[in-house]
Amino acid sequence: MRAKSASSATSASSASSASSAPSAASASSAASTASARIAAQFVALLVLGAVLLALGLAIGSLGWSPWTEAGDTMRLILWDIRAPRSLGAWLAGALLALAGAVAQGLFRNPLADPYLLGCSAGASLGVAALLFVMGISPAAAALALRVGMTGAAFVGAIGAVLLTLVLARGVTQSLRLLLAGVVVGVVLGSGAALLTLMNPDILRAMQAFMLGSTGYVGWSAVQVMAVALGLCLLTALGCSRTLDALTLGEDTARSLGQRLTLIRLLLIATLSLATGAAVAQCGLIAFVGLVAPHLVRSWGPTTHGALLLLSALTGGALLLAADIAARWVIAPQELPVGIITALLGGSYLLWLMHRRKAHFGGAGGSQ
């Protein structure tokens, strides 16, 4: 995957070099240094992920507590709780960041995030409806138990995207899609709020879901997210050339021979699968999907192939770091992980914007 991204970065860099390369003469040398930089970043992010995973194994409800004793409980805590939880946080972050990078490229909008097409509102409505019907009748409760929170969140997220697609009459018009996404988000979100208001029993559970939590991620959740990440990365990387072409405008992309409608459909499927899988397991974690692609772009110009891959690695590292902080800061209590991602990612982005005002002026940064 590393070789593929590097080669696609080299070959497609001509498309984006218009803005990045200082002159035509130095274009080829710029491309090779860019690919070397991207390879270095790739390795650095992988190492960072590994270091954070090790740290995640060493931090729990007592704060810093590595595996010093060799008891049964310790082994259980390490391998059944901390390991899947840390790995799951990394995977969820990677999924959300990948979805964010896809959304930003597809809609050519730096404000796009994974929840753009109504995913988050759909997922919260799904969970609220599930919690609401739990007490209504025994039959409903039995059904709700079989579906489970993860099932409800996933179905809600995907359902919301489908509704958005229906409202936008397909994927051909970006603006229509964005508008439909906003409308679906507001309508489904107020539905979830109404259910919560009608039954305050579910208030606490809803709040925990809205702020995101990685506390109960087990090995089965890790498997689901790993498969989803593999699928989504393959599809997204396969479509990355089209995203590069799209930066030049839709008409140009079409004239370059890109099958826009099909690719759009594929990318939206990727976006919803990635978001749905992450949200179902960990709740609505804010900001990772928005901030990770921006961070990657702030390190230098990239093509979409590299951007997608690096974003996923960055998002994974960011969410895992946030999860570690969430269990460390006030152990044995936990902070909602969504608050930490927003604090960490947001303050870094603010600092970057402050430092490089001139570069952040244009829409899309150095896209």
Binding site: T73, I77, I81, M134, G135, P332
Partner: protein, 312 residues
């Protein structure tokens, strides 16, 4: 709103007329509520709206259930209040319906948003905040004063307190000192020693795994509970499903030895409402501890079925 025909209302006003005629001469009642506001009523109220389940239960326990003319959506005990007009929840109280009931006084929780609006409309509002066992005693005193039944309130408190002491005293030695995790919500939020449930557990001599400094309802790292390895888990039926399957929880003693007490919704109501039924709450927890000391505790056989309200 049509709980009572004109005939019934006439009968009621006749009854209250007779009652007031036999009781002492009307004297104004002054009470300081939990906001620090002083509320003055010209006389013992005859029409009361209660917007908090535990306050509804307190009024009824003091024998004045007939004076309650409207309740919030969650008041469901005793059964007679279920026929009364429902005026909504904490944030969506129906002001129009409430005013139409012409209450002499409205009793509500301190956090009810509707209080300022009601006072603006000229209604008298007594805002009370029963959260701990001490609060229950204080609120009971104030309600006794409001209803002109201070002696009854004192007697009721002594009875409730006595029952709790009895529940604690009759526990077999094996059921004492068990370590307990009380889960309020699957967050996981636990009930700390500072919470109402934690206070009752302490009275029963159980060891709460959550230390006092974490506050009443801390959101815990699930690992903390696995590490604390409680002997008994108490949890509402809503959150019980899937609890043994949480990652790593199969190693907890309470899960391994099947000593999980699952509260059905009606029991949860008793356990989370700091009011006159707290002696029942203590009896429920004592039953759980007694059963757990003997062996596996059976889960309720009825499927989860609860109308909205409370923390189940």
């Amino acid at each position: 709103m049509k709980s009572m025909g004109p005939l019934g209302r006439a009968a009621l006003s006749l009854a209250t007329l007779v009652l007031t005629a036999t009781s002492a001469v009307a004297a104004p009642i002054t009470i300081q509520d939990d906001r620090g506001h002083t509320v003055t009523l010209p006389d013992v109220p005859r029409r009361i709206v209660s917007l908090l389940p535990s306050l509804t239960e307190t009024i009824c326990e003091l024998g004045d259930c007939a004076k309650v003319v409207g309740v919030d959506r969650f008041s469901n005990f005793p059964a007679s209040v279920q026929k009364l007009p429902r005026l909504g929840g904490l944030d969506d109280t129906s002001i129009e319906a409430l005013v139409a009931l012409k209450p002499d006084v409205v009793v509500a929780g301190v956090s009810a948003r509707v209080i300022d609006r009601l006072e603006g409309l000229g209604l008298r509002v007594l805002a009370l905040e029963p959260k701990s066992m001490n609060d229950v005693q204080r609120v009971l005193g104030k309600m006794g004063r409001l209803l002109g039944k201070e002696d009854d309130a004192r007697r009721l408190w002594n009875r409730v307190d006595g029952h709790i002491a009895q529940s604690a005293a009759t526990l077999p030695p094996a059921a004492r000192g068990l370590s307990v995790y009380y889960e309020v919500d699957a967050g996981p939020y636990g009930a700390g020693t500072a919470s109402f449930m934690g206070e009752i557990l302490a009275r029963l001599g159980a060891k709460n795994i959550i230390p006092a400094e974490l506050g009443p309802f801390p959101k815990l790292n699930p690992e903390f509970i696995v590490r604390a390895d409680p002997q008994v888990i108490m949890v509402g039926q809503r959150n019980a499903a899937g609890l043994p399957q949480r990652p790593g929880w199969s190693a907890i003693r309470a899960v391994k030895q099947q000593r999980i007490c699952v509260w059905v919704p009606a029991e949860s109501d008793v356990l989370v409402r700091p009011g006159p039924r707290m002696s029942e709450a203590a009896a429920l927890m004592a039953r759980c501890l007694r059963e757990a000391a003997q062996g596996p505790v059976a889960w309720p056989t009825t499927p989860f079925n609860a109308p909205p309200g409370g923390m189940r």
